[in-house]
C-alpha cells in the first residue's frame, strides 16, 4: 500500500488557500468557518494525481470543489421557517449570503484560469445536487419516489462529475459507495446524539418534519443500519478489485469500520 505522507502537505496548501479566500470579517462574526471534507479533498487528490494532472491543476480543482461544497453545505443550514430574534435574523441573512459568496468564488477562480469546461462541470453538479435534494425534501407521492440513488447524488455528484470529466469514470461506483457509507454513519451519529434530521432521515421517513416517538425512532435506526450494512457489503465487493488506485478509500474504510466497530456489531447480530 502506498504511503500517504505527501498528500497532507499538498492538501494543507489547498486548505490554506480555501480559508484565506472564504474569510470575510463580518461573516466571521456570526458564522463558523465552513467545514471541509478532508476525505473528499484526498480522493480528488489521488484521482487527479493518478491521471497525471499537474500540481497546480490538482490544487485549483480541489479548491473550487471545496468552494462548491461549502456553498451547498452552508445553504443547507438556512432555517426552514421564521425569523426569530434580531441576531438569528442576521445569522440567517448572512448564511444565505455566505453560501452565495462561496459559490461565486468557484466561478471566480476558474474564470481567472480560463477553465470554462471545469466551470460547466461544477455548475452542472450544483444543479444535479439541488434536483436530488428537492426530490428527497419534497417527495411526490404519485410520481417517482426517491431512493438511495438520490442520496448518493446529494453526497457525490460533485466528485462523480469531476471523476468522469478527468477520465476516472471507473472510480465512480467506489466513490459513490464510500461517501454514502461515510455519510450514513455520520448522519446516524447526529441523529442519535442530537436528534438531527438529515437527508437520509428525510428519505427514510418521506418527510423532513416528523414527530419522533419510540416506534419511529427504532424504525429510523433500523433503516440506517440496513443501509449501512448494505453499503458495507457493496464497498467490500468494490474494494476487492482495488489495484492500488483505491488505497486511500481502503484505508479510510478500514478506519471507519474500526471506529464504529461495525464488524463486531455484525458478529453480535449474527450471534
Amino acid at each position: 500500500m502506498r504511503a500517504f505522507d505527501n498528500y497532507n502537505k499538498e492538501l494543507n496548501r489547498v486548505f490554506d488557500s480555501f480559508y484565506t479566500r472564504v474569510n470575510h470579517p463580518y461573516i466571521k462574526r456570526f458564522l463558523e468557518d465552513p467545514v471541509v471534507d478532508a476525505d473528499q479533498a484526498a480522493v480528488l487528490f489521488y484521482m487527479l494525481k493518478d491521471k497525471g494532472y499537474s500540481r497546480q491543476y490538482i490544487h485549483d480543482c480541489i479548491l473550487t470543489a471545496m468552494f462548491v461544497q461549502a456553498a451547498l453545505d452552508t445553504h443547507e443550514t438556512v432555517n426552514v421557517h421564521g425569523l426569530g430574534t434580531e441576531t438569528l435574523k442576521t445569522k440567517r441573512q448572512l448564511t444565505v449570503l455566505a453560501g452565495d459568496y462561496y459559490s461565486s468564488l468557484y466561478y471566480y477562480v476558474l474564470a481567472q484560469l480560463g477553465d470554462v469546461p471545469l466551470i460547466r462541470v461544477m455548475a452542472k453538479s450544483i444543479q444535479d445536487i439541488n434536483e436530488s435534494k428537492m426530490s428527497i425534501y419534497k417527495q411526490h407521492k404519485k410520481k417517482y419516489k426517491p431512493g438511495i440513488r438520490e442520496l448518493k447524488n446529494v453526497y457525490t455528484s460533485l466528485l462523480k462529475n469531476i471523476a468522469v470529466f478527468t477520465g476516472s469514470a471507473d472510480r465512480v461506483a467506489l466513490i459513490e459507495e464510500f461517501f454514502l457509507f461515510k455519510s450514513l454513519l455520520a448522519e446516524r451519529d447526529l441523529f442519535l446524539d442530537h436528534g438531527y434530521c438529515g437527508k437520509a432521515l428525510n428519505l427514510f421517513c418521506g418527510s423532513s418534519e416528523i414527530k419522533l416517538n419510540s416506534l419511529n425512532e427504532k424504525f429510523i435506526i433500523d433503516q440506517f443500519n440496513i443501509y449501512i450494512e448494505a453499503s458495507m457489503i457493496e464497498l467490500e465487493k468494490l474494494l476487492r478489485h482495488n489495484n492500488g488506485s483505491a488505497d486511500f478509500i481502503q484505508l479510510r474504510y478500514d478506519e471507519l469500520i474500526q471506529k464504529y466497530r461495525l464488524k463486531e456489531q455484525c458478529a453480535v447480530e449474527e450471534g
Binding site: R92, S103, A123, Q127, Y137, H140
Partner: protein, 323 residues
C-alpha cells in the same frame, strides 16, 4: 411613454430571449420546475437582457451568440431575487407570493442555487473567456455588496462614500456588466465596450439613487409599501444622509432610532417631512442627474444608431421616473 416603448423594435428578440429563459429553467422535479418558473411568471421588465441586446447592436448582432449572455444575466438577477426574499423574509414580490412564502426557505434556497448554477452553465456555451472574467468578478462583488448592506443596516456612522460603494455593488454593477458584456460578445471595439460599460454603471447609479428618493417622496399606493420603508429597515440612503448632515435635530432623531436597531417607534411621516425641508430630495436629484449626464456623455462618442437613441431615452426615462 412606457419604458418598453423605447425599445419596441427589439420586441421580437426580447420574446425569443424570454422563451430561452423559460426553456432553460425547466427541471426534472415538479416543485423545482414550478418554483423556478414561479418568479418568471410574476413578470419583470427584463431590463438587463434589454441592455445586452442594445449594447450588442454596436458590434456584430447575432442573437444566437448574445443569448449566452442575455439569458444568464436575467437568471442571475432572478436567482438573487429568490434568495433576497429569504433574506428579507418577504411574503410578496410583484403582487405574488414569493417562493419562500408559497413553499418555504429550503425550497427557495434550492431553487435559487439551481437557477444560479443554470445561469453559469449557460454562460459557458459562449466562446469568449473574457465574458467569464467580467461576470465572475461582478458576482463576487455583488455578494460582498450584499454582505456589507447587512453590516451597514442600522449603522449611523455612514458617509457618502460607503453609500455610493454599496449601490454600485447592489445595482449599478449588474447593469454595467449587462452593457459591457453585450458589447464584448458582439465583438465591439474595446473603446465602445468601455463607453458602454461606463454608461451602464452611471445609469445604474442614477437608477438606484432615484429609487432611494422615491422611497421618501412616493405614496404607499405608488411604492407598494409605506414611504420611508428603507429607513424603517435601517437602510440609510442618500436623502437621509444629506438631511442628517444639515439638520442636527433630525440627525439626533434618526441616530437614536438606528441605535435601537429600529425597535423603538419613529414618526416616519414627520421624519420624511423634515428630510424634505432640508433640501435633501433636491440634492439627491442633482446627484442622480449628475450620473445621468455622465451616462449620456459616455454615449456621445458612439456612432449614431437606433440603439444609441434607445439608450439615451432609457437614461432620460430613469431621470424622469416618478415611481
Amino acid at each position: 411613454m412606457k419604458l418598453t416603448d423605447i425599445y419596441w423594435y427589439l420586441r421580437p428578440d426580447i420574446i425569443k430571449i424570454e422563451k430561452e429563459i423559460e426553456k432553460n429553467i425547466d427541471a426534472r422535479h415538479p416543485v423545482l420546475e414550478e418554483a423556478s418558473s414561479h418568479l418568471l411568471k410574476a413578470g419583470g421588465k427584463r431590463i438587463r437582457p434589454v441592455f445586452v441586446l442594445l449594447a450588442a447592436q454596436f458590434g456584430n448582432y447575432d442573437l444566437n451568440t448574445i443569448k449566452h449572455v442575455a439569458v444568464p444575466l436575467e437568471l442571475i438577477h432572478m436567482g438573487s431575487l429568490v434568495h433576497d426574499d429569504v433574506i428579507d423574509d418577504a411574503e410578496l414580490r410583484r403582487g405574488k407570493k414569493t417562493i419562500k412564502s408559497k413553499w418555504d426557505n429550503r425550497v427557495a434556497m434550492y431553487t435559487g442555487d439551481y437557477i444560479f448554477a443554470k445561469a453559469i452553465e449557460l454562460a459557458t456555451y459562449s466562446d469568449d473567456p473574457k465574458l467569464h472574467h467580467i461576470l465572475a468578478d461582478a458576482m463576487v462583488e455583488m455578494c460582498i455588496g450584499e454582505v456589507e448592506q447587512i453590516r451597514d443596516q442600522f449603522n449611523w456612522q455612514q458617509n457618502l462614500r460607503i453609500y455610493l460603494r454599496r449601490i454600485r455593488r447592489k445595482t449599478a454593477l449588474l447593469i454595467s456588466v449587462s452593457c459591457h458584456l453585450g458589447a464584448v460578445v458582439a465583438g465591439a471595439t474595446p473603446e465602445v465596450q468601455r463607453q458602454l460599460k461606463r454608461y451602464g454603471y452611471y445609469v445604474g447609479m442614477a437608477f438606484q439613487i432615484t429609487d432611494d428618493i422615491l422611497d421618501f417622496v412616493g405614496t404607499e399606493k405608488e411604492l407598494g409599501k409605506p414611504a420611508g420603508s428603507d429607513l424603517a429597515q435601517g437602510n440609510v440612503t442618500l436623502p437621509a444622509l444629506y438631511a442628517m448632515e444639515r439638520d442636527r435635530h433630525l440627525n439626533y432623531k434618526i441616530v437614536s432610532f438606528l441605535q435601537q436597531s429600529g425597535t423603538e417607534a419613529i414618526d416616519m411621516k414627520s421624519v420624511i417631512h423634515q428630510i424634505k425641508q432640508t433640501g435633501a430630495i433636491h440634492y439627491s436629484k442633482k446627484v442622480a442627474d449628475m450620473y445621468l449626464n455622465k451616462a449620456l456623455s459616455a454615449l456621445e462618442p458612439l456612432p449614431e444608431s437606433q440603439a444609441k437613441e434607445a439608450l439615451t431615452q432609457i437614461a432620460k426615462y430613469i431621470g424622469d421616473r416618478k415611481f
